[in-house]
């Protein structure tokens, strides 16, 4: 396909997109685990905050959230600084806004995936592990974690595929990623179909590779389970 010399720009955009995906995934996994811990902690205040977070994310479009963090974030930070007596204006970097927002969206949904997976591990196994003298850390790494991983992987994988598609939204705040670079190529060449279809195929390639990788990871996580008939 003839890309009118914009092949390099699209490749750079793809790299940017993958960067946002991976960084948001890390923020999402960490915040999701923290959220699950908060919900299971039994501390009312913590589970209330987590509930509010998940309800907001479920009900409000990602586009509004990205715009709010990007345009509202610097105002909130500056006003907060003013309250503490500093007179500064901090402009939020689009990358920070994008990763923060997409990460927290992923984390909100991941919270429930982790929570359910933790609860799915049979209590007797944990008690048995304690009974034979394993320490807390050992119980976590040998008994709890491998099973949480197995239960959570399909859900986390689905969320990751949704996250990958959501990254296209951050083009609205001027991130240099695939969608924005495609739009710039369109503005200069007036070939919208060529570039948006190419972008679509690149996204399709990314989601296809991800789903294949997830399939293998799930198989590996399930090894030794359910083969006895």
């Amino acid at each position: 396909m003839d890309l009118y010399g914009y092949g390099g720009a699209l490749a750079a955009g793809t790299v940017g997109t993958i960067k946002i995906m991976m960084m948001s995934l890390v923020v999402g996994l960490v915040s999701g685990m923290v959220g699950a811990g908060a919900k299971l902690s039994g501390v009312k205040a913590l589970s209330l905050v987590t509930d509010a977070w998940t309800i907001i994310i479920r009900g409000v479009p990602e586009l509004i959230l990205v715009l709010f963090v990007y345009f509202g974030g610097s105002i909130i930070i500056s006003q907060g600084a003013a309250l503490m007596g500093f007179d500064i204006y901090i402009e939020i970097n689009p990358m920070v806004a994008a990763v923060f927002t997409l990460g927290l969206v992923y984390g909100a949904y991941a919270t429930d995936v982790f929570r359910v997976s933790i609860l799915a591990v049979a209590k007797g196994e944990l008690e048995a592990a304690r009974a034979i003298g394993m320490g807390r850390a050992k119980v976590f790494f040998r008994i709890l974690f491998p099973q949480i991983w197995r239960y959570a992987l399909p859900g986390l994988g689905n969320l990751f595929m949704i996250l990958q598609k959501d990254t296209a939204l951050v083009s609205v705040i001027g991130m240099n990623e695939l969608m924005r670079n495609a739009s710039q190529a369109v503005a200069n060449t007036r070939k919208p179909f060529t570039f948006y279809i190419t972008a679509a195929l690149i996204y399709l390639g990314i989601t296809t590779i991800t789903s294949l990788a997830l399939h293998f990871m799930e198989q590996r996580a399930n090894r030794g389970v359910g083969t006895v008939s």
């Binding site: 709010f68 070939k191 179909f193």
Partner: protein, 230 residues
């Protein structure tokens, strides 16, 4: 919060909300109409039927909605023969392009939900229906649809909320639904925090209402369950 701001912006926000509702309503209905044959094709034994449906669902679920919208709204303008044909009445208009993009997208997701629901009906029931001499149509009408419908509702209600959130993308092709209006109002007033907060609240109310309505639908569809267990 500034009550004056809310009072000034309210009429426009109501207009935006009505447009969002209109988009969601049309998309939901048109999407379902497309999704049912899509699900049936995907389940068909003939590769000639199942492969196109598979490819369609694969493309629309594997690419971002924003790209799909841009291909439809900006992309087709690249071809002169489309610009000169009657298709341009729809493809040259941001409202119709949004409706088309959202419909095609939601049909793919809803098609998968319906397909899964149809497959979840127990095989024994269908065999029993065949053995008492029901026709294919009768089996779908009496055995599969009532049960699959009920199974599909929770997944579909999720999809409706996601679709409603997705309509905010229409603002990127200059449609003045809730997000578009909000961005305009912010450009005028420069109050992003207040206005995005209000917009977020409207969306949350809408999604709550949609979930509630669909839970009523689920209740109604599960009547037969209540009758058999009573």
């Amino acid at each position: 919060m500034d009550m004056e701001l809310i009072r000034e912006c309210l009429p426009q926000l109501i207009d935006g909300t009505l447009l969002t509702l209109k988009l969601v309503g049309i998309t939901m209905i048109a999407g379902l109409i497309l999704a049912v044959p899509l699900a049936l094709m995907r389940n068909a034994t003939s590769k000639l039927l199942s492969l196109p449906a598979y490819a369609y669902i694969y493309f629309f679920r594997g690419t971002p909605l924003l790209v799909q919208l841009f291909i439809i709204y900006y992309g087709f303008s690249q071809f002169e023969w489309i610009r000169n044909s009657f298709l341009w009445i729809f493809l040259g208009d941001s409202y119709w392009c949004s409706v088309i993009a959202f419909t095609l997208n939601t049909a793919a997701y809803a098609g998968e939900i319906i397909r899964g629901a149809i497959l979840s009906v127990q095989k024994g029931q269908i065999e029993a229906a065949i053995s008492v001499g029901m026709s294919r149509f009768q089996i779908y009408k009496r055995i599969i649809t009532p049960q699959a419908g009920l199974i599909a509702v929770p997944g579909y209600s999720n999809e409706v909320v996601l679709m409603m959130k997705g309509t905010s993308l229409a603002s990127t092709v200059a449609l003045l639904e809730i997000t578009g209006i909000t961005r305009n109002l912010i450009a005028e007033t420069f109050m992003p925090i207040e206005l995005f907060f209000i917009a977020g609240c409207i969306y949350m109310v809408l999604s709550t209402v949609f979930i509630f309505i669909l839970s009523l639908v689920e209740k109604r569809l599960s009547r037969f369950r209540a009758a058999t267990t009573a």
